[in-house]
């Protein structure tokens, strides 16, 4: 039994020695939300004219309600679209789109609408679409809404719907759309 007792002492002391020690960084500055996305810009160009859809909430999850700037699209027109995600609480504003593009295999944008639009993703992470770059084709004059969803860690490839892709939602914004 003496050996068992010795082994017990050894076991206990190994645990004690290996698990003490933890870093403590003591920084008393004002913390800020470095993941914050304040602004979603969807810029659509048909070659000559451009329309910018803007969804902005500068004070984050609480505080004031967001401001939504929509636009009017021309019927039966093909647009080139680009998404930009910004954190405008930083100066200069931080472009979060760069991070999303760098981690393209873990992100994907999804576009749904009730305004007769056809949105096609034109960029890839190497194999699968990301959706920062798109073409948007309008149909006949109508009105409705356009929803843009950014999923983090979705299933890739997927059935093209945000529900089918799963993952967790990083951005979900809806714009009213008029096509005339």
């Amino acid at each position: 039994m003496k050996t068992i007792k010795l082994l017990a002492v050894l076991f206990i002391s190994t645990l004690v020695l290996t698990s003490c020690g933890d870093d403590h960084d003591d920084d008393h500055d004002h913390g800020s939300d470095e993941e914050l996305i304040t602004t979603v810009l969807y810029t659509l160009t048909d070659g000559t004219n451009s329309v910018v859809l803007e969804w902005e909430d500068l004070d984050g999850d609480t505080g004031n309600a967001p401001t939504i700037t929509s636009g009017t699209l021309t019927a039966n027109t093909s647009y080139t679209g680009t998404i930009q995600l910004l954190n405008r609480t930083e100066s200069p504003a931080e472009d979060i789109t760069l991070e999303v593009r760098a981690e393209g295999d873990e992100h994907e944008f999804f576009y749904t609408n009730t305004a007769g639009l056809t949105v096609t993703k034109t960029d890839t992470d190497g194999t699968n679409p990301i959706g920062i770059e798109t073409t948007l084709v309008t149909g006949a004059a109508s009105s409705g809404s356009l929803t843009i969803i950014l999923k983090h860690e979705p299933t890739k490839p997927n059935d093209g719907t945000s529900v089918g892709a799963g993952g967790s939602t990083d951005v979900e914004v809806t714009f009213p759309i008029t096509v005339q």
Binding site: M1, I4, K5, A8, V9, F11, I12, S13, L15, V16, T18, S19, C20, D22, D25, D26, D27, H28, D29, H30, G31, S32, D33, E34, E35, T38, T39, V40, W55, D57, D59, G60, D61, T62, G63, N64, A65, P66, T89, E99, A102, E103, F110, T112, T114, G144, S145, T147, I149, H152, S162, V163, G166, G167, S168, T169, D170, V171, E172, T174
Partner: protein, 788 residues
């Protein structure tokens, strides 16, 4: 075969005796005397005498217990009618730690349930909450299966005081997903005090008190210990726990203990619960000196928990939640793995304590306790880019206290305990997280004083009364979004907190609050008949709001909800009544404890609406205060069915009401009952085989906070059912154990247990992850304990 032998013997012997106090030879009334190997019980009468008749010739292993005495064991070889005077160390209890000593009295008048070492050691690979969950009236609020918060009569978090080795735990207990950082394998006994808030520890035990007690060691030269190894099929893991104790004739003692636990992904009946693994390392060291006149005890422990949280529970917004609820299956199911990825918690808790006492003739005992704790909590979430490896929450809580106590015991039938407390607490919200902090930096100062009176009215009844006053002051430093500050009307209510310092959109504020809390306590106990007792407790408790109730404000990622606390939240006041009628008897015993709690200004967190953010819509949960009432009854029964068969059953009924809104209270435990039958044979390797059943009924009384939200994809309103409760479920379990003696010295105990025997799929209403996945499936457990 054993029975034949017994029949062949002469079985007309009697064994009688008298129990006296070792110090003054006074008679000890009501001591329980058990012949362990025959499972016979009796108690000493008013003359301190007892008798067992119709005994066979042979060896008797006796255990003699009395509430204020050291339990004594002795072996007697019975060859004729025997009388023996047995002296108990009546004061030895007082040599124990302060925590145990003050409670020898509280025990008499308080209503409580205990877990002994044997039960605790069945839970070494689970948690404190799981172990306590086996007691009637105790349930738990879970986040998955590894984060288990104990709940007494539906109350948890800041409403329960957890006293670990006489130190009140401060481990950021305010959060729903913050489980107590306690290594249960280091404890010897756990008491749950439902009635009588022991005023010694604080005025805010609205729910009750959990006392985790160390063992008192005999004064003799000895070296002993034990090692337990446990292996489980669910999670493919287990733990190793070891303790070794050295005691000396001089009164000195030392104990070293450590525990290592490791599990991979747990499994529900139909799928693996991806990212639910865990790793714990705990160790403790204690040393001290004991004598009648003076003594000291020093204790240090650390707990390091790394706990994976179900991967599928990380959701982005309310539409993700709707999908999770509708899908029924977790959205991410991967093969088994030991990896602990994101989300996860990583927690360190250091606790150190020194206490010393000295006795003074014709006065009593003076003791002093110093303690300090450091709790560091890091919560990791799924994040983008460089923030990936940085915690989203990183809080460090430091607490230190000084507590002198004077126990005046010079009077015969009266004991007075009085003392005071000075405590300092600092919370440091570590800024390096790159996220807004939910809980701000603060300093808290507390001063408290109390006096407790214990009176022996007569041989069979006791009375206790106590009063306590606490002053606390909290000074915080928090950045508010300026538009929030004005929207909440704080610029009008609390202009004095505004520092005028603005950084971007945020305003620096310095909220300061002072609270004066009073509490009282009355207890009465009466024993009658052979083994009946009646107890009554009344308690008034007051609790100041905790930091999350005051300061929360923002998105709680893991819960996918915005949680908002308010500076206007005030203290809550509880009036608690509890009765208990008990019959302590091996052949048929029971306890019936009805209770009623009226809590004014009850602080609750409830859903109040929806807010649109750039991530989509989130439910908003706000703290508010209502008048509440919780009442119910806990019933326990034990019955001897046959010579080797014992039955145990328990039933808990509870109802909680929000009286202000005439609504049921949220997150209240539903009616539940359990039955178990145990076969035990002490003559054959102390063999024990048992089956148990536990049924939890569906909670039909819940507040309806369901809402609808716009699904942006379909542009349709969808119904979000966050309130409906899961159906009733019944689980069966199997347990067995036997003791062997393969070594010259010491013993080996082998146990085999099965949880959720029939691999039932179920969800528990009080599990916060019930929207996302089923609870655990079947688990086979093999346990080997070597005592040496």
């Amino acid at each position: 075969m054993v029975i034949y032998q017994a029949n062949a013997q002469d079985c007309n012997y009697s064994f009688s005796g008298k129990i006296t106090d070792f110090h003054d030879n006074s008679l000890i009334v009501g001591a329980s005397i058990q012949i362990i190997n025959l499972n016979k019980f009796t108690t000493s009468n008013l003359e301190g005498e007892f008798v067992f008749n119709n005994l066979c010739e042979g060896k008797l292993t006796l255990e003699i217990k009395h509430v204020a005495c050291e339990t004594k064991r002795l072996v007697i070889n019975l060859t004729k009618n025997t009388f023996k005077e047995i002296s108990l160390e009546h004061h030895l209890e007082e040599l124990k730690e302060v925590v145990v000593k003050t409670n020898t009295k509280t025990e008499v008048t308080s209503i409580e349930k205990s877990l002994k070492k044997e039960v605790i050691s069945n839970f070494t690979d689970k948690s404190l909450g799981d172990a306590l969950n086996t007691l009637s009236g105790v349930s738990s609020l879970n986040t998955g299966n590894s984060i288990v918060k104990p709940m007494i009569h539906g109350l948890h978090s800041s409403r329960l005081l957890i006293i670990n080795n006489s130190v009140r735990m401060f481990d950021q207990e305010w959060g729903d997903e913050h489980a107590p950082n306690i290594d249960i394998s280091s404890s010897d006994r756990i008491d749950v005090i439902k009635g009588a808030n022991s005023l010694r520890y604080g005025s805010d035990a609205v729910g009750g008190l959990i006392l985790i007690r160390p063992k008192k060691y005999a004064i003799k030269d000895s070296l002993f210990g034990s090692t337990t190894t446990s292996i489980n099929s669910n999670g493919f893991g287990g733990n190793v726990t070891s303790e070794i104790i050295k005691t000396f004739n001089s009164g000195y003692y030392t104990k070293l203990q450590a525990n290592y636990k490791r599990f991979g992904d747990f499994k529900a009946p139909d799928y693996y619960l991806t990212n639910t693994g865990l790793e714990n390392i705990n160790a403790s060291f204690r040393t001290g000196f004991n004598s009648y006149e003076k003594g000291f005890d020093a204790y240090y422990s650390f707990v390091n928990n790394k706990i994976g949280i179900l991967r599928s529970s990380h959701i982005g917004n309310v539409n993700d939640l709707v999908e999770a609820i509708n899908n029924r299956e977790p959205r991410i199911v991967e093969d088994f793995s030991y990896d602990i990825n994101f989300p996860r918690q990583n927690i360190f808790h250091h606790l150190a304590k020194v206490e010393a006492f000295k006795r003074f003739k014709n006065l009593g005992k003076l003791s002093l306790q110093l303690d300090a704790q450091l709790n560091r909590r890091k919560e990791f979430d799924l994040r983008r880019g460089d923030l990936r490896d940085r915690p989203v929450i990183d809080l460090q809580l430091f607490t230190a206290s000084i507590q002198p106590n004077l126990e005046i015991n010079k009077f015969d039938n009266l004991k007075i305990n009085t003392g005071f407390l000075v405590r300092y607490q600092n919370n440091d919200a570590i800024v390096n997280t790159g996220a807004n902090t939910l809980i701000p930096d603060y300093n808290k100062y507390e001063v408290g004083t109390y006096a407790i009176l214990d009176v022996d009215i007569n041989e069979t009844s006791e009375f206790s009364a106590g009063i306590r006053y606490d002053y606390s002051r909290i000074k915080a430093r928090k950045w508010y979004v300026e538009s929030d500050w004005t929207a909440l009307n704080y610029d009008v209510l609390f202009p004095e907190f505004d520092t005028g310092i603005v950084d971007g959109l945020e305003l620096l504020t310095r909220p300061e609050f002072t609270f004066n809390n009073f509490s009282t306590n009355l207890g009465y106990s009466k024993r009658f008949g052979k083994d009946y007792s009646f107890l009554f407790n009344y308690g008034l408790a007051q609790r100041m709001p905790n930091p999350s109730e005051l300061f929360s404000g923002g998105l709680h990622h893991s819960a996918a909800r915005i949680e908002i606390g308010f500076l206007t939240i005030n203290k809550e006041t509880a009036n608690k009544f509890i009765l208990s009628l008990e019959k302590n008897n091996e052949n048929f015993g029971f306890s019936i404890s009805p209770y009623y709690k009226q809590i004014d200004g009850f602080i609750q967190l409830i859903p109040t609406g929806i807010r649109t953010t750039i991530r989509g819509a989130f439910p908003v949960w706000e703290y508010n205060q209502v008048d509440a009432r919780i009442f119910g009854v806990d019933i326990d029964i034990n019955k001897k069915l046959a010579s080797h068969f014992d039955y145990k059953g328990s039933l808990s009924l509870l109802q909680g009401d929000d009286l202000t809104n005439d609504n049921p209270l949220i997150h209240m435990p539903s009616a539940n009952f359990s039955n178990s039958i145990m076969y035990s044979n002490n003559d054959f390797h102390q063999l024990k085989i048992g089956v148990n059943q536990k049924t939890v009924l569906q909670q039909n009384r819940f507040p309806d906070y369901n809402f609808t939200t716009l699904d942006p994809v379909t542009q349709q309103q969808v119904f979000v059912d966050i309130s409906s409760t899961p159906p009733s479920y019944t689980l069966f379990g199997f347990s067995s154990s036997a003791v062997f003696y393969p070594f010259k010295k010491g013993s080996m105990e082998v146990g085999f247990n099965v949880d959720n025997l029939f691999n039932v799929s179920y969800r528990e209403n009080l599990n916060r992850l019930r929207y996302f996945a089923d609870d655990l499936g079947r688990n086979l457990n093999l346990k080997i304990k070597i005592n040496y």
